[in-house]
C-alpha cells in the first residue's frame, strides 16, 4: 500500500505595483478589463458615475507651470488586507478575503444590493448594476465564457481576473500541483507601456517585490492595500502624503 502524496499549497498575496510615470492614460487597461469581465456597454442614460467601472484612470493635472505632463492614475479595488472595509460591513458574507490568494472576492449571487460596501470603500472602487446588463444583438458572441455576467441590483468590483487565476489553477492541477503560481490579469497584459506589474508580495522574486519604492493611496487609514504605486515625480508623492500616505518600500513579508 503506497503512502498518498500530501500536496500543499502556499498562501499567496497577489498585488500590483502601478508605475504612474509610465501610464499614458491610453485606456487599454479599461477596455481589456471590460472585455475580460463581460461588462455590458453602457446605456445612453449612463455616465461615469452610474456605469460599471471595475478600473478607472484618473487624470491629475500637474500643478507646476504650463507644459508639464499630467499624471494618470489607474484605480481599481486595492485588495485591502487589514480590516478590509467592505468585508467587515457586508451583512450576508457576499464579500470575502481569500486567505490563499489575498484577493477580496465579491459573490454577486449572494449580494443583496444594499451598497453598504460601496459606502465603506475609501477608493470608490465598487460599481452597482443600476439596470439589467444589455448587449447589442450579435455582441453576445464576444462574451467571455469563463466569467458569469452579473444581474442588475448587485455590486461588482475588480477581483484580479479570478477566472484567469482559476484557469491557472486548472493548468497547475493537470501538472499535479495545487499552486496556480504566476498568472496575468487582463489589464496587466493589455498595458502597452508595462505600467502595471502583478505578482505575489510574499515572493521576493516577483515583479511587485522587486519594484522598488512604492506608496499606497490613503495609507493612513491602515487598511494595507496590496495595490501600490510608484512615481519619481515629487508632486505625485506630495499628493499621496495627503490622507496619511508616505512613500516607502513595501516589505516583502507584509
Amino acid at each position: 500500500m503506497s503512502t498518498p502524496t500530501v500536496r500543499t499549497r502556499n498562501p499567496r498575496r497577489y498585488g500590483m505595483v502601478i508605475d504612474i510615470d509610465r501610464c499614458t492614460g491610453c485606456g487599454a487597461c479599461i477596455v481589456a478589463c471590460a472585455a475580460e469581465n463581460n461588462v455590458a456597454p453602457g446605456a445612453s442614460r449612463d455616465n461615469d458615475r452610474t456605469s460599471i467601472s471595475l478600473l478607472r484612470v484618473f487624470t491629475i493635472p500637474n500643478p507646476e507651470p504650463v507644459g508639464r505632463r499630467a499624471a494618470f492614475v489607474p484605480l481599481m479595488c486595492m485588495q485591502c488586507e487589514r480590516d478590509t472595509p467592505c468585508v467587515a460591513v457586508c451583512p450576508q458574507q457576499a464579500v470575502e478575503l481569500d486567505p490563499m490568494t489575498g484577493i477580496v472576492e465579491q459573490m454577486p449571487q449572494r449580494c443583496l444590493g444594499c451598497r453598504y460596501c460601496m459606502t465603506a470603500c475609501p477608493y470608490h472602487a465598487r460599481s452597482f448594476n443600476w439596470a439589467d446588463p444589455h448587449w447589442p444583438s450579435g455582441m453576445e458572441a464576444t462574451l467571455n465564457p469563463t466569467v458569469a455576467p452579473r444581474m442588475r441590483g448587485v455590486v461588482e468590483k475588480c477581483d484580479f481576473c479570478q477566472s484567469r487565476m482559476h484557469a491557472a489553477q486548472d493548468r497547475a492541477a493537470a501538472n499535479g500541483s495545487l499552486d496556480p503560481g504566476q498568472y496575468t490579469p487582463a489589464c496587466v497584459e493589455a498595458c502597452p507601456t508595462q505600467a502595471i506589474l502583478f505578482g505575489d508580495w510574499d515572493d521576493p522574486a516577483s515583479p511587485v517585490s522587486t519594484a522598488g519604492d512604492t506608496f499606497a493611496w490613503l495609507e493612513g487609514l491602515g487598511t494595507k492595500p496590496k495595490v501600490r504605486y510608484r512615481s519619481r515625480q515629487p508632486w505625485v508623492g506630495a499628493m499621496a502624503n495627503r490622507g496619511g500616505a508616505a512613500p516607502r518600500k513595501e516589505e516583502s513579508n507584509g
Binding site: 446605456a43 458615475r49 452610474t50 460591513v89 451598497r115 459606502t119 475609501p122 452597482f128 448594476n129
Partner: protein, 415 residues
C-alpha cells in the same frame, strides 16, 4: 360636514367609531383621506418602476450609494424611538402620565418602522434576497444587527398594538378576540421590555453603520468595546427626540381634530424628559466631536477643516446642529411648566430638525466628500421617484394613523 344618513357606508362607518368619541362625518373623513391616497398611489407607482426596471430610476450613483431614502429612514426611525422609550418609562419607571400617549406612541413607532422597512425593500437591489442575511449572517456587520433588530422589533410592535385594535367596539363582540386581547394585555410589560431591548440595539446599530466606516474619515469614530461612539449617540438622540415627536404629533392631531387629547401636564412631562435627554445627548455629542476633530480624524491623515471647506457643508452646519437644534431646544424644553405649554411645540420641532440634520450630515455629507486626494466633491439631487416613494410612505403613515384614530381610542384622556 354632516353625515349623509342615506349612504349605507356612512352608517356602517358609524358602528365602528368608539362610543363617546366625537368624529367628523364619513364624507369629511373620506375627503381628508383622498389626497393621501393619491400620494400613496404615486409612491406605489414610483416603487413599482424601481422594482421593475432597476434603481436607475433614482439619482443615486456609484459614489452616492445611499441617498434620500437612507437619510429619511434614519430620521423616521429616530422619531419612532418615542415608542420604545415611552414603553420603558411607563412600564419600568412607572411614569403613569405617559399612559395617555402610549398607544399613539406605539402606533407611531410601528408606522415609522414599517415605513422604513418598506422603503428599504425598494432601496436594495435584490429585495428577494433579504432573507440571506438570516441565512448567511456576517456577525461583524452593523447591518446584520440592524436587520435582525428591525425585523424582530416590527413583530413586537405589531403585537403591542394588537390589543388597541381588538378593543374596537365591533371586534369586542367576538368573545375569543376579547379573551385574546386580555391575555395580550398581561404580556405588555414583557413585550415592552423586549421591544425596548431590540429598539435600543437597532437605534444604536444604525449609528454604528457610519461610525465603523474606517474608509470614511468623516464618519469614522472611536470605539467603546465593539461599538463606535455613534452607536451610543444614536440611542441617546432617539431617546431625546422620541418624546418631542410624540408631543408634536399629539399637538398636530389635536389641531386637526379640534379635540383635547391629553392633559397639559402630559406635555410638560414629555418636554422635560426630552429636554433632559437632549441635554445629555448634546453634551456627549460635543465631546465626541472634539475628540473626532482633534484626534480620530487627524490620525487617519485628514485635517478636519477639509471636511467643511465645501459649500454648502461649511462649519455652520456643525454649530447649527449642536447649538440652534441642540442646546437651544434643550434649555427651552427644560423650562416646561414655566413657559406656556403651547410654545413647547417650537423646541420640540427644533429638536426633531436637529436629529434629522444629524442623519442628513452622516448620510449625505459623508458620501459627498472625496477621500482620495485627486477625487472631487460631488452633489446629489434625488429623482422624483425617490421623493414619491417616500411621499407614499408618509401617506401610508397618515392614512393608517387617521383610520386608527377614528376607530380606536388612541388617547384615553380624549374629551
Amino acid at each position: 360636514m354632516a353625515d349623509i344618513p342615506w349612504v349605507p357606508a356612512a352608517m356602517f362607518d358609524r358602528k365602528f367609531v368608539p362610543r363617546g368619541a366625537a368624529r367628523c362625518g364619513t364624507a369629511q373623513f373620506s375627503l381628508w383621506l383622498t389626497p393621501w391616497f393619491f400620494l400613496l398611489g404615486l409612491g406605489l407607482w414610483a416603487g413599482y418602476l424601481c422594482l421593475r426596471d432597476g434603481l436607475y430610476h433614482t439619482n443615486m450613483d456609484n459614489r452616492f450609494a445611499f441617498g434620500l431614502w437612507i437619510f429619511l429612514d434614519l430620521a423616521i426611525i429616530a422619531f419612532g424611538g418615542g415608542a420604545f422609550f415611552s414603553g420603558v418609562l411607563l412600564y419600568f419607571l412607572k411614569l403613569k402620565e405617559l399612559s395617555a400617549v402610549i398607544r399613539s406612541a406605539v402606533l407611531i413607532g410601528f408606522l415609522c418602522y414599517s415605513g422604513a422597512v418598506t422603503v428599504l425593500m425598494v432601496d436594495v437591489g435584490q429585495p428577494l434576497r433579504a432573507w440571506f442575511t438570516f441565512w448567511h449572517p456576517n456577525t461583524h456587520s452593523m447591518l446584520t444587527e440592524v436587520t435582525f433588530c428591525i425585523t424582530c422589533y416590527l413583530v413586537v410592535l405589531s403585537i403591542e398594538y394588537l390589543p388597541v385594535l381588538l378593543r374596537n367596539r365591533q371586534i369586542r363582540k367576538i368573545p375569543s378576540f376579547l379573551v385574546f386581547e386580555w391575555e395580550l394585555h398581561k404580556l405588555m410589560p414583557v413585550l415592552a421590555g423586549i421591544g425596548a431591548f431590540l429598539s435600543f440595539f437597532h437605534q444604536g446599530s444604525l449609528g454604528g453603520l457610519y461610525g465603523v466606516l474606517r474608509g470614511r474619515p468623516f464618519a469614522f469614530r472611536e470605539s467603546f468595546g465593539i461599538w463606535p461612539t455613534t452607536f451610543f449617540l444614536f440611542i441617546l438622540s432617539a431617546m431625546a427626540v422620541g418624546p418631542s415627536f410624540i408631543l408634536l404629533t399629539t399637538r398636530l392631531v389635536e389641531w386637526i381634530s379640534k379635540r383635547t387629547l391629553v392633559l397639559e401636564s402630559v406635555y410638560v412631562k414629555l418636554a422635560r424628559i426630552s429636554g433632559w435627554m437632549l441635554t445629555f445627548y448634546v453634551l456627549l455629542k460635543s465631546v465626541d466631536t472634539m475628540v473626532w476633530l482633534n484626534s480620530t480624524s487627524r490620525r487617519g491623515g485628514f485635517l478636519p477643516w477639509e471636511y467643511y471647506s465645501w459649500e454648502p457643508f461649511g462649519v455652520w452646519i456643525l454649530f447649527v446642529e449642536i447649538g440652534v437644534f441642540g442646546f437651544l431646544p434643550a434649555v427651552w424644553l427644560l423650562r416646561a411648566g414655566r413657559v406656556p405649554t403651547r410654545s413647547l411645540v417650537v423646541p420640540a420641532l427644533l429638536a426633531c430638525a436637529g436629529i434629522a440634520l444629524n442623519r442628513y450630515v452622516l448620510t449625505v455629507q459623508t458620501l459627498a466628500l472625496a477621500t482620495l486626494p485627486f477625487d472631487e466633491f460631488l452633489s446629489y439631487t434625488p429623482s422624483w421617484q425617490e421623493v414619491a416613494v417616500f411621499g407614499g410612505v408618509a401617506a401610508y403613515g397618515v392614512i393608517v394613523y387617521s383610520i386608527l384614530y377614528r376607530y380606536t381610542k388612541l388617547f384615553p384622556q380624549e374629551r
